[in-house]
Symmetry: C2
Subunit: 361 residues, 2 copies
């Protein structure tokens, strides 16, 4: 420990002594209770400031079983979608005097379990979770034992909890309609279908093709990216574009696949949209700034965060109604990266090889 001239933190007892009142009185002032005479309150506040008193959260939590802290579990802090959601959650919680304890599981179930156990030890008052793998029984079991209100974000888990879902189907259908109208029939799709967002998008992809009378080519679907990050986007995109009949359009859904796929397209030196129509998802900044700007599916995750936090606060306030589900829309944002299929379109020649790409870190 660095040498520190500070004496140990002041306790409520010391404040009481300094102010010449009892501990109970100090406690009431700290708790913002009414029924305190203005003069004593002022004296107590002065003493607190004097000793730079901060109430001991552990003692308070032990006594009240309330920690004024909410836990938030996300799979990846590198994903802008979650960063924005965190901002929304924090905004609402801060207004209500709660702290947010954010944890990134780095897409590992084991880390997720560790966090949930730590959360239980620390008696977090509630949880907002976006789990890595909604099919994980281990995670589900842990969640069931939490014993505090939980809000699940865009995952389908059997659990007595409120939910905030995003509407993925409509935006995906709009996208497919757009691409099909432009003449695309071979549409590559790189994503992770493990959880709700991916599952719905894959379903919408298939439905749209079938409705248009286009045979679904399984080889164009690379939907096994769960936990594999940007590298999956790069390798699958490279493979799609260089082996056999290449797609004329490519959808990379999920910010890391978006990035990874774009990397492969750059390495192959394909021109967007002339040689390939390209669509991303979940990374507005990248979509705006890549040259050319890229059509993408986007959603207001900050608002999702706000809604999740509000659902939780509502439970804290004693609401005991059955679980609710809120649905937030998503949008297809058209930019310059998609275009009509060229009549004479052929598979792009292989220009050069992609260096073996590993995830960003």
């Amino acid at each position: 420990m660095t040498s520190n001239p500070i004496r140990p933190r002041a306790t409520i007892r010391e404040v009481a002594a300094a102010a010449g009142v009892s501990m109970g009185t100090v406690s009431r002032v700290a708790g913002g209770s009414t029924r305190i005479s203005e003069v004593t309150r002022a004296r107590v506040l002065a003493a607190m400031k004097d000793l730079s008193y901060q109430p001991n959260a552990a003692a308070r939590a032990m006594r009240t079983n309330i920690s004024k802290t909410v836990g938030m579990l996300v799979p990846d802090l590198g994903c802008p979608v979650f960063v924005r959601m965190i901002a929304g959650v924090k905004e609402v919680l801060a207004q209500n005097g709660y702290m947010l304890f954010t944890f990134s599981s780095e897409s590992e179930v084991s880390q997720e379990i560790t966090f949930l156990q730590a959360a239980r030890q620390r008696q977090l008052d509630g949880l907002i979770v976006s789990v890595v793998d909604e099919t994980s029984a281990e995670t589900a079991r842990e969640l069931q034992m939490m014993g505090v209100p939980i809000v699940v974000v865009d995952r389908e888990i059997k659990l007595d909890a409120d939910r905030v879902f995003v509407e993925h189907t409509q935006a995906m259908e709009a996208l497919m309609a757009q691409l099909i109208a432009m003449g695309h029939e071979r549409i590559g799709f790189v994503t992770a279908a493990l959880n709700r967002p991916g599952r719905l998008r894959v379903a919408a992809y298939r439905n749209a093709l079938q409705r248009a009378g286009i045979t679904v080519d399984p080889d164009l679907m690379r939907t096994d990216g769960a936990g594999r990050g940007a590298a999956y986007g790069t390798s699958e995109t490279y493979d799609l574009l260089t082996n056999g009949a290449a797609p004329t359009a490519l959808i990379a859904a999920g910010s890391d696949f978006f990035f990874g796929a774009l990397k492969a397209v750059r390495a192959l030196d394909l021109s967007i949209p002339d040689q390939l129509s390209f669509v991303g998802a979940d990374d507005t900044e990248l979509a705006e700034i890549a040259g050319p700007p890229i059509t993408a599916i986007e959603r207001d995750m900050r608002e999702v965060g706000r809604m999740a936090a509000k659902l939780l606060l509502d439970r804290f306030a004693g609401n005991a109604l059955p679980p609710r589900t809120i649905i937030q829309s998503s949008q297809l944002v058209l930019r310059k990266s998609i275009g009509k299929v060229q009549p004479t379109r052929r598979a792009p020649a292989i220009k050069k090889h992609v260096e073996q790409t590993t995830p960003a870190e």
Copy 2:
């Protein structure tokens, strides 16, 4: 609260009863003490599992004054630099049984103060901080009262604490040398000079120009971006490139200015590097993927995070030596976005106006 059939959390007392031993025995098993007979240990562990017992962190913290939790303060979770640092910190702390409590101040001193007070209440065992404004007396005062080991990352604050610094000067000088060698004399610079990284970069920028016998044009320096985010990058870049004699090269240091500046360049439809040499910093992904790939100053922030965490753990272990400072290098990564000044170079014509841009959120 959602109806929950779970009975309240098991206490150490219940575990003791279930295992037919005393509380003290359970505590010793939980604490991993030796000197426990194998049979009783097994019985206790079985009971703990049975009741899915998790020790009450509040009670433990109250008793021991150790929370096994480290706090981390960053200005912005949207900045990849901090996200990577967090990953590094978490990696090392997790290996040592510590949890990480990350807080983003959203570049607001007031939020920073709130966090530091909350940290004191929760008796976090140590802190890793990257403050918004190293000149804030309020923040400094709060930090001095923490009473726990602190590691400061790339900020100059008068404080009895360990430090991890990044070497900014060399990379910046290398960059300037490169640009000057390419014939650039009018080099625009958009950044925030409030804290250590910006200050050092600005100093290196001036020095390099002076050493090359080039007059420093203050109008080319837009170094007042602190707290203004990407919008500052966009508006200043637009202004630089459209008013008066435009620079032939532009450096946007800081991930948000990088993004914002690139946005303005795109809006003006300038071709990189033909019409403008462009250099970024701190956002490797964007630099790699923008068309064309962009020369940038980069640093291994994950390693910075690891080092910060190790310094802290060292203090926890009782190291009482005077404060140490560790320095991490940074690199200039050359990509295709810079080139020689065209002999016939003129200020680019104004092509169109930039829409009024607000920060990403």
